[in-house]
């Protein structure tokens, strides 16, 4: 019998205001202490909101990404020879920005890190990284490639900060409160992450995978340029796609790291999507949004959240949903509010949604 190919996470690395490295991310999301503070990187005097989750010391995005890719490859046990021919899928903000253009950046990173396969740059806003992971998993599972590096980065900078401030998307009370009554909006956060995805059929070096990407789904709302469809149909179809690819029922999901940004309509739409996709299980499965501690890393959010979801599941403890003030009738979910929660779950969803009604679901498994 031929073994089905699945995409395994064999090396992960991430940086956020919670700290540097995978262990720092896990410790940070389990501690549940929000990392938001005054922005010192640029002048915020003209803004309504002046806080974000930023690292105190940060290099250029190019250098941070190069370090992250190298660290993920080393964690996967890939030497320079084994990186040859490996593809790089990169998720960053598109268009003009300080530093090299996205395509140039991808080329520079591939050269610096010894990845000589094809490159692709995703600029799909907040589903950029999760779409890249879905694409990588699809290509590995159908046998196109054996190994893909996915990297993503966003470092809080003045232009996006000003745009989110102008759009009144930032939480004026300085806290992110996903699914909670009294939530006021999102806050931005630094995020740089890289993962190595490899085919399960590549037996080598005795490397123990962190987790397996067992399912994924991508779907559109067809509703509005920047508002989510209130019924959650698009996100529910993405979750359905992930479960279908994994061949698992809704009850197999033991944790959901929600997209929940702390925004009134978006969190309610996501709760509706979970009810639609998971049925009665939606009110039982533990749910939290780690954006409540590390902030919204925009194009990088999907990868940072995949890393913390996989690590938490493997560790057996679920991240707390910080900022909780009390339940909201529009979000009837089992939100993890009183500290990290022990679990024996083997599968978890990590969800992302973006402007344009773009939705993704990634289903990871351990054990």
């Amino acid at each position: 019998m031929v073994e089905a190919r699945v995409a395994q996470l064999t090396g992960v690395h991430a940086v956020s205001a919670l700290g540097r490295g995978a262990d720092a991310q896990l410790a940070g999301v389990l501690a549940g202490v929000p990392a938001f503070g005054p922005v010192g990187r640029f002048d915020t005097a003209a803004r309504r909101v002046t806080v974000a989750a930023t690292l105190s010391e940060v290099a250029t995005l190019t250098d941070e990404l190069a370090v992250a890719i190298d660290a993920a490859c080393r964690a996967a046990g890939l030497d320079r020879a084994q990186r040859t021919g490996c593809a790089l899928l990169l998720a960053v903000h598109g268009g003009p920005a300080p530093g090299p253009a996205p395509a140039v950046l991808a080329g520079q990173l591939a050269a610096r890190c010894g990845l000589s396969g094809h490159t692709r740059v995703y600029t799909s806003a907040c589903v950029s990284a999760s779409t890249a992971v879905a694409d990588a998993a699809a290509r590995i599972s159908r046998g196109d490639v054996e190994r893909v590096v996915v990297a993503a980065g966003y470092l809080v900078e003045p232009d996006q900060f000003a745009l989110f401030d102008a759009g009144r998307a930032l939480a004026v009370d300085g806290a992110v409160r996903p699914f909670s009554a009294g939530r006021r909006g999102l806050l931005l956060g630094d995020g740089v992450a890289a993962v190595v995805l490899e085919s399960s059929t590549v037996r080598r070096r005795g490397v123990e995978p962190v987790a397996t990407v067992v399912g994924w789904g991508r779907a559109g709302d067809a509703f509005h340029p920047c508002q989510p469809e209130p019924g959650g149909n698009g996100l529910a179809r993405a979750v359905g796609g992930a479960l279908r690819r994994a061949g698992l029922p809704p009850e197999s999901v033991g944790y959901v790291n929600a997209n929940a940004t702390g925004t009134a309509q978006s969190d309610a739409a996501e709760a509706a999507a979970l009810r639609r996709a998971l049925g009665a299980h939606a009110t039982r499965v533990p749910v939290s949004s780690t954006k409540s501690v590390h902030g919204h890393a925009l194009e990088a959010s999907g990868l940072l959240e995949l890393v913390v979801t996989a690590l938490a599941l493997r560790h057996g403890e679920l991240p707390v949903n910080a900022g909780w003030l009390g339940p909201d009738d529009a979000c009837p979910l089992n939100v993890v509010t009183n500290g990290p929660q022990k679990t024996e779950a083997t599968h978890a969803l990590t969800l992302n949604a973006a402007f344009g009604g773009a939705n993704t679901a990634l289903l990871v498994g351990v054990g």
Binding site: D43, A45, A46, H93, G94, G95, P96, A97, A101, P102, A103, A106, G107, H118, T119, R120, V121, Y122, T123, S124, A125, V127, S128, T131, D135, A138, R139, R142, P158, D159, Q160, A162, L163, F164, A166, G167, R168, A169, G217, R218, A219, G220, D221, A222, F223, H224, P225, C226, G234, R237, G241, A354, F355, G356, G357, A358
Partner: protein, 200 residues
């Protein structure tokens, strides 16, 4: 299918320089046929007369969104006429652009640098997903929304992503849009409808 009034030269057309000549391969299919194109449209085309694309509600300052909508709707009308996309068909959108919305991004950069305040509409059009969402809502396009910055030939990058979405099962067909906004020249775009019928 080739659109009428196509420009003689096209920024986004696939590079055919490495293809065998038709003299030696009479039965060879074009790159467009191999990609499974069902409809194609350009902005501008001959009948546009150098005019601006019609404005799009909620989008300001830049012709990025108007040109995306103009070329995409022209392509969808060629593919579907007035009937629209049939119910149950999941049409994905793949938008490929190196420049992105250059005009808006430059306005934001200059305003922030001068210590000013940005109008809220710039937030809503700050990523290419937004105009894709506008199209999806108007045409009931329920497949994935993917935006790429090309690392090679934009058409080849876009078709590869569209093929992946279709082969992987999240889209039945894909509306591929290629657009570049030049700093001092006209904005050019092409849209193609890929798949949905029998795969080539």
């Amino acid at each position: 299918m080739t659109a009428p009034n196509s420009p003689r030269s096209c920024t986004f057309c696939p590079d055919e320089s490495d293809q065998p000549s038709k003299a030696t391969t009479e039965t060879a299919r074009s790159p467009e046929e191999r990609a499974g194109e069902r409809a194609r449209a350009f902005w501008p085309e001959g009948g546009d007369g150098g005019g601006a694309a019609a404005g799009v509600p909620g989008f300001v300052h830049s012709d990025f969104a108007p040109v995306v909508v103009a070329v995409a709707e022209r392509c969808l009308r060629r593919g579907y006429g007035s009937a629209g996309v049939p119910a149950g068909v999941r049409t994905g959108i793949v938008l490929v652009s190196a420049s992105g919305d250059l005009a808006s991004a430059r306005h934001v950069r200059a305003t922030v640098e001068a210590g000013g305040r940005i109008g809220p509409l710039f937030f809503f059009q700050s990523v290419p997903n937004s105009v894709a969402g506008h199209l999806a809502a108007r045409w009931d396009l329920r497949g994935p929304v993917v935006c790429l910055s090309p690392t090679g030939d934009p058409y080849t990058d876009g078709v590869a992503e569209a093929d992946l979405l279709r082969d992987d099962g999240d889209a039945d067909e894909v509306l591929l849009i290629l657009i570049e906004q030049a700093p001092d020249g006209p904005t050019e775009a092409v849209a193609v409808l890929l798949g949905g019928g029998a795969r080539p």
